[in-house]
């Protein structure tokens, strides 16, 4: 009997999974975005290892070669210090992905437990936590990040922290919603009835059920977070020279770009493509996993 039920749920899960794959296959743009994300991660991992000229790209200046237009030798041209823009753009991939992942990670670390606590315990605790999220959501995220980064002091670490502080309420809301609905289900009630400690219920039963929606939300957010980091750096509140961060590169290029278009165009394109790929993937994932659009 138990086995039978197990097989049944397994079958249902499999059906769901096949449905997702079916939808994913149908959606070419999402598939493309998925490959794009993989390519970005490969670049982020391989390039810093494969380019031992890291130090050169970062610090060394080569004034003779300054502001050269794109050529075979320098596909994206060179900057005002004679550094190769192509290499710097490639190296920037790791910085952007790294900071974005860490920022989202911190936001999850703050947001998820708070959401689980709010959803599970309800009542006053719930009210308090949710009103705090309301307050944080009262700022546009970039604005809050700017304010926090400015007061913590302008550097990349603080920018990450600032973004995490601006972002966590979204995760709290998701987890709380899930927790509230899961709490009503039989297995959590059963666990409660046999006297399992609350904390254990939260971590054993509620959190694992939140993983799927969290992954979707986080993957949708990565694009926005990368854009926010670039924006902070552009304003001078993120990465500091000579870090090859894309937003910072566009920012320094402002003094030269009218005569050296490549200097601003390529790092900006890198931001655009990275954010676009993540957003397309996130959007596709949502469409696939959202029960509303799923029924077709």
């Amino acid at each position: 009997m138990i086995e039978n039920r197990f097989i049944k749920t397994l079958k249902a899960k499999l059906k769901q999974f096949r449905h997702s794959v079916f939808l994913l296959k149908r959606n070419k743009l999402t598939k493309l975005a998925f490959y794009g994300v993989i390519a970005l991660f490969l670049i982020a991992i391989i390039v810093p290892i494969a380019l031992p000229s890291n130090i050169h790209v970062d610090q060394d200046t080569n004034p003779i070669d300054k502001l050269l237009s794109p050529s075979f030798e320098h596909p994206f041209g060179t900057d005002e210090l004679g550094r190769d823009v192509f290499k710097r753009v490639l190296l920037g991939t790791r910085i952007s992905l790294n900071t974005a992942l860490i920022a989202v990670g911190i936001a999850l670390l703050i947001g998820v437990p708070l959401g689980a606590i709010a959803g599970y315990f309800g009542g006053f605790v719930d009210e308090l936590i949710m009103r705090i999220t309301d307050i944080f959501l009262g700022f546009p995220p970039l604005l809050l990040a700017i304010a926090i980064a400015a007061f913590l002091g302008p550097n990349l670490q603080n920018a990450m922290l600032a973004i995490a502080i601006a972002w966590w309420p979204w995760y709290t809301r998701i987890v709380r919603g899930q927790a509230v609905s899961i709490k009503e289900r039989q297995f959590v009630k059963a666990a409660n009835a046999i006297g399992t400690p609350s904390m254990k219920i939260v971590f054993r039963h509620i959190l694992p059920n939140c993983i799927a929606p969290l992954i979707v939300q986080a993957s949708m957010d990565i694009g926005g977070v990368i854009l926010t980091i670039a924006s902070l750096s552009f304003l001078g509140l993120g990465a500091q020279s000579p870090t090859p961060e894309w937003g910072l590169m566009v920012s320094t290029s402002r003094n030269y770009f009218l005569n050296a278009w490549w200097y601003s165009i390529f790092p900006g394109l890198a931001i655009f493509f990275t954010v676009l790929v993540f957003n397309l993937l996130g959007d596709g994932l949502r469409e696939i996993l959202d029960p509303k659009t799923r029924k077709n």
Binding site: H19, L23, N296
Partner: protein
């Protein structure tokens, strides 16, 4: 016999899911004569609404798809028409529809008046002033008091019964002489139901419209319709004059449906005393009721066409084949 007003032939409608397509409607023949009120009885989920929507080609596609068949209106195949000419010549002009849920059929952000006026202006090519006069007249026709003030109201300001009357007014105001009524009294109180039914009967008599009335409740059909068909899993399994079909049902399913206790939930009928628990699937070709039929036997697995009981009564069941043998 001369050509019926509406003639549906071999209509197959399927729904596409990711696991492949599934037929939800399979009607080999349905004839409705002019001026007639025809009832379709079936539980929810048997394809009643899909049948109603198919006639106007309003099935959401995807996932729905009309696979094959013909829907002839005065000899003209509606399925072969483009959606533009359907809109210009058929919808509203010849056929209009009364939807089942009075709560969701009216557009919430327009006044009753402007919704009526729009329909009248569109179908009768008159200006707003004349449309207004006509609209007030229509509201009076459906026996709503204080027509002028109803015109100014938004749907949420009306009660369910009032809304359903407005919806009937809308369906009539376009001047169609064939009306498809998809469970128009669902979600209404019993007393209000009676009023709406009475109104529809009057309209049918006085305005000489043809009605296809779809419902889950045999009682509703018997009070309005001359002829009736029983729909089960997308197939008409029994049809004839309402009197014949409801007084002496021949199909075990019809029998079950008529003798079942209506449960408290309006759209669900408790059939459990008259059917057996599903132990095997219905055969692909044979009777679709096989899996639940108490009187089933081996021969039921074979394909079955409509059998004539008499001129006014047809049934799709092997039991009667043997009886006549």
């Amino acid at each position: 016999m001369n050509e019926p007003y509406l003639h549906i032939k071999n209509l197959v409608v399927s729904f596409k899911t990711f696991e492949g397509s599934k037929n939800v409607l399979n009607i080999d023949e349905l004839k409705i004569n002019k001026g007639e009120a025809y009832g379709i009885i079936g539980e929810s989920g048997t394809g009643k609404t899909i049948l109603a929507l198919s006639i106007l080609k309003l099935i959401e596609s995807p996932p729905g798809e009309i696979v094959s068949g013909e829907i002839l209106l005065e000899g003209k195949d509606l399925l072969k028409m483009s959606s533009k000419s359907l809109q210009k010549e058929i919808r509203g002009r010849k056929i209009s529809m009364i939807f089942q849920d009075p709560m969701s059929t009216l557009n919430p952000v327009f006044t009753i008046g402007s919704q009526l006026e729009n329909v009248i202006m569109e179908t009768q090519h008159v200006n707003r002033k004349k449309a207004y006069i006509k609209a007030v007249e229509m509201i009076k026709t459906v026996k709503l008091s204080d027509a002028e003030s109803v015109m100014e109201k938004y749907p949420h300001e009306l009660s369910g019964g009032q809304r359903q009357r407005v919806i009937i007014a809308l369906a009539l105001s376009c001047g169609a002489d064939f009306i498809i009524a998809d469970e128009p009294t669902r979600n209404l109180d019993v007393t209000i139901q009676a009023g709406i039914l009475k109104l529809m009967k009057e309209i049918q008599r006085n305005m000489n419209v043809t009605i296809l009335f779809v419902a889950n409740n045999p009682g509703l059909i018997s009070s309005i319709c001359d002829k009736a068909g029983i729909l089960y899993r997308g197939q008409i399994i029994e049809k004839g004059t309402t009197r014949e079909v409801l007084k002496s049902p021949k199909h075990p399913y019809t029998f079950a449906l008529l003798h079942a206790v209506p449960s408290r939930k309006e759209d669900k009928v408790d059939l459990s005393h008259f059917i057996i628990k599903e132990t095997e699937e219905s055969p692909v070709e044979g009777c679709i009721f096989y899996s639940k039929c108490i009187k089933r036997k081996e021969s039921c697995k074979k394909p079955q066409s409509l059998l004539k009981i008499n001129d006014n009564h047809y049934v799709r069941c092997h039991l009667w084949e043997e009886d006549t043998l």
